[in-house]
């Protein structure tokens, strides 16, 4: 269990890296993802850092990559996924990559610019073509009219006066369709109705060369008289962004022009296609490498960003960085140092130096895909303090179990099991979907929690004997009917003395209760007691968990002054209640008889555990009882209860004053002995760490010897010289600083803690009753759904019944899934979470740590992908 019971041991290491090898070393470390670097240059602003230029170059490359990606996506070119992640590029390759990116970006830019030019040219020509084609019609009409006029005018022809002949001037152009009504109105106004406007739809959608949007346009011809109107119309046209085209007035000229334009269009189209092809080719070739490049650039940026955390040695011959390393991974880090140095070709090795620190290290629990979900549940409450007992280990079972106590139903459990199995069996497929959506992600991350919850629900459901609110009679009900029965109009209550076979149903609730009218009375009493039993045991378990913590942090006195009074308080009151519950279960039955012995244990004499409990707390005598019954379950019960109460009350002042008094005594002693007050724990911790260090050094020596590598040996030599130096950045945590803490603080702290604990024993025990409430609610809800919905379908006779049951099943199944599995499941989940966070973990868990955030390319790339 090692790392999961407690977080891993961490040590602060100093890395001494040669500048030329630094890039490679960090790259290796990033691949392994084992160290968390500390920023040694926090006080510098971003521009003063050493590798700011490199980071900026990477930013620039990222911008170019984004631009290229956008262009690639615009052309709907598929970007293939990379199977193998490329390593961070060699710094020398970066220049090539940079040049390549620059060239590609410039190419693409040029393509788009020329494409825009060509396209706008193309658009103009197309519009002109349409103008010529559409206006043909208008002119034809006009010409006909004019010809008629000409015929009449043959007699008095006066070719010198064109106006007189009724010849009108005109302006032709193209305007966006949505602007036509306004345009028309405006023309009407400026001319007081003296402009004749003809319009026709272009018929095909055109493409905007800049944005690529589709546009619908309309061809118009405005006929008018007089030069003044013409200039006005032109102004209006430009105001409406209408493009005007020259249109010759004679048919011949128009035809010629049309032919010429068609020819030019054809040419242009060919050129356009060629450019498009070329662009496509470039983009396709870029797309292949795009993913690789962006990964490489992100890695590179991450490396330089990390290098900015490093200090430069005074001689400028080496970079010094500090990092947290899990003790188990030190050899990996060392290997990375050696690999990095050798791949850079530098002859001077880089090495690491473990330094002592009083700062508390980050918390690191090594998880796998199974335990991660549970660890996340705990971390959501608060990351464990360094080396504190990790509740996640127990949560793996207790969480699904408490959930299942509330959710117990075989049917709903099976539905859930199906979902969980699907998510687990198709794990790889689902994990590879990139955009799953938040809710799917949450469920998927908790797939193993769901699996265990469903398995436990199957078990508890089997014990509750509930399958969609129906029961199974697997082992044979232990209730029987006797010969020659009679039954009245109102039914019958079976007396256990005559109808009960003597031993309980082997596993779970007897199926007879399923159709009993007083089912709830029975289940109420059973489930309430069950939840108290489970709750008290769960809390006792939680208090027991403080022991490993006290032992590990060497607070042995707390076992005596904290753990024992806490345990006594909890057990003498609440565990006593559990004991009483069991005594009642064992002692009383519905036995019939006349002798006093028999009457005393009969059902009419069964006492209420709750009344006993209340009287015990209030120090009251038990009230009068029925004839033949005894006041107490056994003779010395009142005495025992008095003793328990006294013990419980005594344990409170022990809890309250024990620790502060001890502190005062030891505090005095220390002052007398030393004058100055060193903290015992600190000294000890340092010793422990020095032991660990020598162990590691030996280990690495061995490793390098077996490798027989020259560079390795150098490292080992360096390692041999490792000396203890206090870290330059030792920060004292004021919270743990007992030297400063006065007696008063300890006292106040302890008083709060004691009050909290004492009150919490009551409130937390009551809180576990939610197990009873929710499981009862779940069972009742599914019962109601069955009788109110599904039963309606079952009672319809004949062929109609077939259809009815078909439809009603759908309704029932929908509500079963949506309400009973999903909503009730979520609510049971939340209540379980609360029971763990508040009722269980508050007994021993501080949760004041900070998480270990290793420098890992994998994590960085995943985060980038999510954005």
């Amino acid at each position: 269990m090692g790392s999961f019971f407690r977080s891993e041991q961490m040590s602060l290491a100093q890395l001494f890296i040669q500048p030329e090898a630094a890039y490679f070393v960090i790259s290796e470390l990033g691949e392994t993802g084992t160290v968390q670097f500390r920023d040694l240059n926090e006080e510098l602003n971003a521009f003063q850092k050493k590798f700011v230029n490199e980071v900026r170059r990477c930013d620039e490359m990222e911008r170019k990559l984004r631009y290229i990606e956008r262009e690639v996506n615009k052309d709907k070119v598929n970007i293939p996924d990379v199977r193998e992640l490329p390593r961070a590029p060699n710094p020398r390759e970066i220049i090539d990559l940079e040049a390549h990116l620059e060239k590609t970006e410039a190419d693409i830019k040029e393509f788009s610019e020329s494409a825009v030019n060509l396209k706008s040219n193309f658009l103009e020509l197309t519009e002109l073509k349409h103008v010529l084609e559409k206006t043909q019609l208008f002119f034809n009409e006009q010409d006909e009219a004019a010809n008629g006029l000409d015929n009449k005018a043959l007699i008095t022809e006066d070719s010198n006066n064109p106006i007189r002949g009724g010849r009108l001037g005109f302006v032709a152009g193209v305007i966006k369709r949505e602007r036509v009504p306004a345009f028309e109105r405006m023309l009407w106004r400026i001319s007081r109705g003296n402009i004749f406007l003809r319009q026709a739809d272009v018929g095909v959608t055109l493409e905007d060369p800049l944005t690529g949007d589709e546009m619908n346009k309309t061809v118009f011809v405005a006929f008018f008289q007089g030069e003044q109107l013409k200039s006005r119309i032109k102004k209006v046209c430009s105001g409406f962004h209408a493009s005007m085209y020259p249109c010759p007035s004679s048919i011949q000229e128009r035809d010629e022009m049309l032919q010429g334009i068609k020819l030019r269009l054809k040419d242009l189209e060919m050129v356009l296609n060629q450019t498009q092809d070329h662009r496509q080719r470039v983009l396709v070739s870029v797309a292949k490498e795009l993913q690789n490049w962006s990964i490489m650039v992100s890695k590179m940026k991450a490396i330089y960003h990390t290098l900015n955390f490093f200090n430069v040695d005074v001689t400028k011959k080496c970079l010094i960085g500090e990092c947290w390393v899990p003790l188990k991974d030190i050899h990996i880090v060392q290997k990375a140092l050696v690999d990095g140095s050798s791949s850079s070709g530098s002859s001077i090795p880089s090495f690491m130096n473990i330094i002592a620190t009083q700062e508390s290290p980050p918390t690191f629990n090594r998880t796998n895909k199974f335990t991660r979900g549970f660890q996340n549940l705990i971390d959501a409450y608060g990351v464990a303090s360094y080396r504190e007992v990790n509740p996640a280990l127990y949560t793996i079972i207790t969480f699904p179990f408490l959930f299942a106590v509330m959710f117990g139903d075989v049917g709903h459990g099976l539905v859930m099991l199906g979902c969980a199995m699907y998510m687990i069996l198709c794990e790889k497929k689902i994990a590879s979907y990139k955009h799953k959506g938040e809710i799917v992600n949450i469920f998927f991350a908790g797939r193993y929690i769901i699996l265990l919850m469903s398995l436990f629900s199957l078990y508890t459901g089997f014990i509750y004997n509930d399958i969609f609110s129906k029961s199974m009679n697997v082992f044979g009900s232990q209730w029987q009917l006797n010969k020659s029965e009679t039954v009245g109009e109102g039914g019958k209550t079976l007396d256990p003395f005559y109808y009960y076979k003597g031993t309980p149903y082997i596993m779970g609730v007897d199926p007879m209760w399923q159709f009993a009218q007083n089912k709830i009375v029975f289940l109420n009493s059973f489930k309430m007691k069950l939840s108290i039993v489970i709750g008290v045991i769960h809390m006792i378990f939680g208090v027991f968990m403080t022991i490993p913590n006290y032992i590990h942090f060497k607070k042995y006195s707390d076992i005596l002054l904290q753990f024992i009074p806490q345990m006594v308080l909890l057990c003498s009151i609440f565990f006593w209640m559990v004991v009483m519950i069991f005594i009642k279960w064992f002692k009383y039955s519905s036995i019939h008889g006349d002798t006093p012995d028999v009457i005393a244990v009969g059902s009419s004499c069964a006492p209420s555990v709750l009344i006993y409990f209340i009287n015990m707390m209030l120090l009251k005598e038990q009230g009068p009882v029925e004839y033949g019954c005894q006041k107490y379950m056994f003779d010395f019960q009142p005495v025992l209860e008095k003793i328990l109460i006294v013990v419980a009350v005594i344990s409170i002042p022990v809890m309250l004053f024990g620790k502060p008094l001890l502190f005062k005594m030891t505090h005095k002693n220390n002052v007398q002995k030393n004058g100055a007050i060193p903290s015992n724990g600190d000294v000890h911790q340092r010793q422990v760490q020095s032991l660990e260090l020598t162990k590691i050094t030996e280990q690495t020596m061995e490793n390098s010897e077996t490798n027989g590598n020259g560079v390795d040996k150098d490292v080992a030599n360096q390692e041999g010289e490792v000396v203890f130096r206090p870290s330059s950045h030792v920060k004292k945590e004021t919270g743990d600083d007992h030297e400063e803490e006065a007696f008063g603080d300890v006292m106040i702290h302890q008083a709060i803690h004691t009050i909290e604990y004492t009150l919490s024993t009551v409130s937390h025990t009551a809180s576990y009753l939610r197990l009873w409430a929710l499981s009862l609610a779940h069972a009742q809800l599914s019962d109601v759904l069955w009788t109110m919905v599904f039963n309606k379908g079952l009672t319809v006779n004949g062929y109609v019944g077939v259809v009815a049951i078909y439809l009603i099943f759908a309704v029932w199944a929908f509500f079963s899934l949506a309400i009973l599995v999903l909503m009730e499941g979520l609510s049971a989940f939340l209540h379980t979470l609360r029971l763990h966070w508040v009722e269980f973990m508050s007994k021993f868990y501080a949760g004041l740590g900070r998480a270990f955030q290793p420098f890992s390319f994998k994590i960085i790339l995943e985060e980038e992908e999510q954005e």
Binding site: L481, M507, A516
Partner: protein, 89 residues
């Protein structure tokens, strides 16, 4: 009234085996400790749950209250039909 020995032994032995014996046979590996704890806790939880249910029904203080129809159907199903009633459909 009381417990039958056989079911009690069977379940105690079964969950005892899961929680107390199986942990010793977990194959060696980095997760051995975790699996051991899981097995032990599973054994305890499941046994406790079964035990409470069993003990709670050992000495019933009340019996199931049945409707007349339910009662009659039960009697018929269990082979002891009630003859002297005429108004049963």
């Amino acid at each position: 009234m009381g417990a039958a020995a056989i079911p009690f032994i069977i379940f105690t032995v079964f969950w005892g085996a899961v929680g107390g014996v199986a942990p010793f046979f977990v194959p060696k590996g980095p997760n051995r400790g975790i699996i051991q704890v899981l097995l032990a806790l599973t054994g305890v939880c499941c046994w406790l749950f079964w035990l409470c249910c069993y003990v709670a029904q050992m000495n019933p203080l009340i019996g199931p209250q049945l409707e007349r129809d339910t009662f009659l159907i039960l009697a018929k199903q269990w082979g002891k039909p009630i003859q002297n009633l005429t108004d049963i459909p």
